[in-house]
Amino acid sequence: MTTAFPALVPSGRSFNAGNFPVKTYAAQDGGEVRILYGSKRVGMTLQLTYQNIADANAEKFIDHFHEMKGTYNRFTIGTESRDGWGSDDKWLGAVEWGSQWRYAQSPQLQSVYPGISTVTVNLIAALS
């Protein structure tokens, strides 16, 4: 059974909307040629911070990272990660644009108090 991404509400969130696969060529006369190589926006990034959570919850991120074989496998995340966003969830998502999330790096865990840790997770959208 695959471990689901922890269903916790983050205390901080940073989203980058990525871009369409565009290649830009600059001509010597200053002109610019842009070629659109795809119809799907890619490269979205999402940083989630879970401040001062119980170690038992912090452990879930390490467990999930392990289950996903680190940065290898793609996965979806629950709506909890977008709680507090006052508009349609799809604008902070990846699935709606044909991608899924994968870890951009390993979760960063900081121990702050006995039984309490802060975890930062960096995700990047991958089309395949």
Partner: protein
């Protein structure tokens, strides 16, 4: 004030004219993005205090220098910058309220400052400030 001596016995040490002890903590914020108001859980506690001792010797129970000398040390090797390290002290701050079990707080502390002031017509006094190491050893208040 009662201080623990080297044999582990508490002895009355000095005439204290006032003392204070203050405990505080730094709560850890647990606010999430769905909250509208900040939420917290308990965090690290810290206890500090101070006292003023009258510095005179009545031949029995008042030896203010015992405490002050826990912090102030003379150089012991001839090296200008080398002296014996300060000593931690364990003492009780008491309120003698006439009951059989007086209100008291027993702490192990690191002295953070010791200063003596003298003025004409006054008894020499020493102000001592301390940082409690960990939690108090006992609290009866």
């Amino acid at each position: 004030m009662q201080i623990e001596n080297s044999s582990g016995t508490f002895v009355t040490l000095a005439k204290v004219t006032n003392w204070s002890i203050s405990s505080s903590q730094s709560p850890l914020q647990t606010t999430t993005l769905q909250d509208t108001d900040a939420t917290y859980i308990n965090g690290i506690r810290s206890t500090t205090g101070s006292c003023r001792l009258y510095y005179y010797d009545d031949g029995t129970t008042n030896s203010c220098s015992t405490l002050v000398k826990k912090l102030i040390k003379a150089r012991d090797t001839g090296e200008v910058g080398v002296a014996t390290e300060p000593e931690n002290v364990t003492f009780k701050l008491q309120v003698l309220d006439g009951t059989t079990t007086p209100k008291q707080i027993e702490v192990e502390a690191l002295l953070t400052s010791a200063s003596m002031s003298m003025a004409v017509g006054e008894v020499l006094a020493a102000d001592v400030a301390f940082q409690v190491n960990g939690a108090p050893k006992s609290v009866t208040i």
